[in-house]
């Protein structure tokens, strides 16, 4: 059972455009949603995270939009740069301390210069 789903599986945008990566979840007990990015041959690194008390979290060019009612969130990357090319993972953890992360399948993002 896939509890966290991501779409699209892969995405290509031109440099300078906005990339939109989607994520949805099933379990209403999830209350922390980090996004990780992973470059080839490296490990995941925390990019940005949000809790359901907020519907938006911004960090520079990266913004999470969160819709608790629909159990959906999206990561928007504005002014995309070639260095943003990576695989992006949406993850979730339930509302108890030290819970395990449940990851989506990832979106491979390619930025064309």
């Amino acid at each position: 059972q896939q509890q966290v789903r991501q779409s699209p599986q892969s995405l290509t945008v031109w440099e300078g455009e906005t990339a939109i990566l989607n994520c949805s979840y099933e379990d209403s007990t999830f209350d922390y949603f980090p996004w990780y990015w992973q470059f080839p041959r490296e490990s995941p690194a925390l990019l940005i995270a949000i809790r359901p008390v907020s519907n938006k979290k911004e960090d520079g060019r990266f913004t999470i939009f969160f819709n608790k009612r629909e159990k959906k969130l999206s990561l928007h990357i504005t002014d995309s740069q070639p260095g943003d090319s990576a695989t992006y993972f949406c993850a979730a953890t339930p509302n108890y301390n030290q819970g395990k992360l449940i990851f989506g399948q990832g979106t491979k993002l390619s930025i064309k210069p």
Binding site: Y32, P34, Y36, E42, S43, P44, A45, L46, A49, T87, F89, T93, N97, Q98, G99, K100, L101, I102, F103, Q105, G106
Partner: protein, 113 residues
């Protein structure tokens, strides 16, 4: 930047051999997680610790996998009898007490021939 240390970075074993990998969590992080990331980018939670105590573990960990986080020593994950399907990136993550944020180490890439 994560300060989680994992060794070795690469590990090659024959089927049936033991495979052991180590993790030093970030200083001040008493909670340690182990995940397996396969070639399809699927993450599987294996086990987590708070100090030396196991918090959660999956069935796979209870059988061929063993793990520990002894006091004043690196945490370790050991596969007692490696199988080809164990070939994957093994990721250690750590977090502060009461925090949902997990920081990943560089991983140990295991190849079972």
């Amino acid at each position: 930047n994560s300060k989680v240390i994992q060794t070795p970075r690469y590990l090659v074993k024959g089927q049936g051999q033991k495979a052991k990998m180590r993790c030093i969590p970030e200083k001040g992080h008493p909670v340690v997680f182990w995940y397996q990331q396969n070639k399809n980018n699927e993450f599987k939670f294996l086990i987590n610790f708070q100090n030396q105590e196991v918090l959660q573990q999956i069935d796979m960990t209870e059988k061929r996998f063993s793990a520990e986080c002894p006091s004043n020593s690196p945490c370790s994950l050991e596969i007692q009898s490696s199988e080809a399907g164990d070939s994957a990136l093994y990721l250690c993550a750590s977090s502060r007490q009461g925090s949902d944020t997990q920081y990943f180490g560089p991983g140990t890439r295991l190849l079972v021939l």
